[in-house]
Subunit: 279 residues, 4 copies
């Protein structure tokens, strides 16, 4: 076995290790699990570091962990770019790698580590861009076992897109109408709180989504009666997405399950109801 | 080509441009998109103008935009009235146009611009009537691509009207019962807040719709236990509309999809399962 | 026509007028509508009279309306008792009327007017018992047109009773567990607010039903993380009744609609799928 | 009848009394009902005793009831351990009983009474462990009549586990994204309240679960617009579990109900539609 073959075998193994597939080996799982754990810890670190008390006390540890993560992610990124030529669509030594580097997955990986290097050069304060490491979590969906169920949910949203859009339009319409009505009912009684429609729009959203912070509360009789009517209408309107999504799920399930095959009692031949139906 | 034919061709083109249909041309789309954009910007302007800070600062721009919109809407209205005779049902030069002018669509268009002219004459302050321009948004539903999905939602509400009405009656009943009970539990402990059933009605609506502003909160043990029971009952009652609407969607989907036609593998005859079913 | 026949004809007409049926005449509708309107106005009067400001100002009108209502309801009650012998099951002149008087409908009618007469005798202050007139609203469901849809809702609750009960048990369990956990997380930080499990039970109900008054809010990190987990679990648990009720509606709809009759393509005989199925 | 037989008959009867089965006798029901009532009263006592006012006033009664319960539970536990050898799988006099003692049911029963004995020895203050008596409530599910409906709910959660997990991941993702966005919108305007992402995470959970305590409320225009968009997106995302669970219920119902057996009207042979279908 010469050096060239050795080189290719190492490249192949590197590529396989970094791209978990259905029949993944033990090392695949270990490396993949480690990377996902590191991404989750990065997310936690970025979130916790915004807390001034923690940033002051443990700042040095956050920085060290950041350096450690970026080193690992950089090595992973370089290995990915190096080994991508194993795939046929990226097999040119230069253009193939460039093509891989401008793919979505690789760009997300680059954006996740770039702010560190730019920040190190003291050019800008790009620390908040580290939040983009969050995007790396999308690779969880590379795990094949989660693909099928995720696909069902994606299909439901895709098939029902137009109906969900219309229910959004209806909901937005209800919010605007509610805002205008409550404005007329309350703006004399509470001029600072309900003094303009943009302010009552905030009230409508908070009320119709049933959040109810309590910062804006109608006090006039007309406003209260109106809120009662709007709240009851809102229950029906906000039940629309639930109804649409449930119907979508049932359609998805049926598509997968329905294979109706009847056996004729006389001749014994089978009739596949699905083949003969017009869907 | 004489003047008369010229006149009719212009009228026809004007009519076609203002009434987007399924096979709409590029100019149709541009004009229709422009009008819808103008309506949306009008909505935004009317909403933002109620904010005193903005009205003071940018008042002159709001006014100019208002004049501009009314001019465009007036031209559109006049062109619509003029070209409506192209349609057979409005083809009389006078009565046809009058008939068109008293149709819902034309009246909404008129009401949207009228307050400006009346206000200009310094007769009344009808600026708030401009909110009626909101009604013009209904023309979004003229876009044929949204018609089918919207129709499904309208059908669901229409078919399930009686069941939704009964669930409204049940919900209202629960609200009234809850108000009476909480009144007896709390009116001694908090006489100003829970001092009468009309006031506890407000509490019931805010609690059962799970808004929970926090302006009225029971403090007695009896009131709190009662709230717990009412809240759990409310979850079941407010699940009714969701259930009814979901069932409605599934029925609609089935109506559209079900065309069961079986072909016998032996004789080749078709059996329409729907024809032989009793629905 | 002698007096006796006259008497019976009057009784028959009185009975028919007071008991609206499917093929109701114009007078039936007028009388029934008037009684329902009077009940609704009574409900409104009883509710509004608890408001001290209104009671003081319009007290005399409330009292007059009360006298008027009781007179009408008393006449209606006497006529009902008198004419009930027209029905075969109450046809004895004394025992039949007594039997009618102890039926649920008649007892509700009596309870609705009794407090007035007892109160008039200055024996007790039973004014609050007038709220029982609310029960008379149940007669709305006598209107046959609302019966079928109401029956569907009743059937759903009846068929799904055990599943709804179990989801209630699960929800109650979640509420108790949440109360215990938040008690340990918060009772040192907020001893008056989260100082005992009965108090945190109130918090659990208000949080899990997503009311969120804001009177009790966790402030410790542990309490907030716990609330996050409980709130997400609560979404799944409180989706159970919605799921159960929706499934119930769909079963009801199917029961009514499903009549599968297939026609055999060879012999032309029909097969009723329902007759041959095991449900 | 000798002593030995007597001993076995007593053991058998003890065992039967303590393990209610389908064809339970009157004494079974009485004992079982008494034990469940005692567990419920224990739960109530443990919950109420955390209230300082009640603990001070009725402390002695709580203690007496605690002693009484533990005595009963101890007797029940000893009788269960003694009589378990009646069952074939525990029939060895020593190893069988040990095997029974380490089964889940027996361990829960032991844990429920142990804190009392340890606390009596003044070793630790383990009073709060009495909350574990709550676990004994699980025996309600031993009642066979509740088993079937509970099984349906368990099956729904089991079959839809992966889809519910993905909707949890999506919801968590939405919560994290909402937290990051609101942090950038609000942390300058309200530095103590929205000063770090961990704090805005709390806001996201409270807002997206539509609890809305009102302790953290956005005040900037950007924050309010963002909240509006997040709240509307949240309605669709939080409708996912409802849709998944409803679809799960309908699948469960279909599994139980569907037994399609057609009988041919000519030859009299039966066709099981299920056998010939591919599910």
């Amino acid at each position: 076995m010469n050096t060239c073959t050795m080189y290719h075998r190492v490249k192949k193994h590197t590529h396989v290790l970094l791209h978990p597939s259905k029949d993944e080996s033990r090392w695949d799982k270990v490396i993949n699990g480690f990377i996902i754990l590191l991404i989750l810890l990065n997310l936690l670190a970025v979130v916790l570091e915004t807390e001034p008390a923690l940033a002051e006390k443990y700042g040095i540890y956050f920085h060290r962990f950041d350096v450690f993560s970026v080193v690992i992610f950089s090595i992973e990124y370089i290995l990915r770019v190096w080994s991508c030529t194993y795939e046929t669509k990226y097999n040119h030594w230069f253009w193939g790698r460039l093509k891989y580097m401008v793919s979505w997955g690789a760009l997300i990986d680059l954006v996740a580590i770039l702010p560190f290097y730019i920040g190190m050069a003291k050019l800008f304060d790009l620390r908040e861009l580290r939040l983009l490491r969050l995007l790396r979590l999308l690779r969880i969906f590379r795990l094949t076992s989660y693909m099928k169920s995720a696909q069902v949910i994606v299909n439901v949203f895709k098939n029902k897109f137009q109906e969900l859009l219309i229910s959004l339009v209806l909901t937005t319409g209800l919010i605007i109408i509610a805002s205008c009505l409550i404005y007329f009912a309350e703006h004399n009684a509470q001029p600072e709180k309900f003094g303009s429609i943009p302010r009552t729009l905030w009230w409508s959203v908070v009320t119709l989504a049933t959040i109810g912070y309590g910062d804006l509360v109608p006090i006039t009789v007309a406003g209260k009666i109106l809120t009662g009517i709007i709240a009851l209408a809102g229950v029906a309107f906000f039940a629309l997405p639930a109804g649409i999504i449930t119907a979508g799920f049932l359609e998805e399930i049926r598509k997968v399950k329905k294979h109706h095959i009847i056996k004729c009692p006389q001749c014994g031949n089978t009739i596949d109801l699905d083949l003969h139906h017009e869907h």
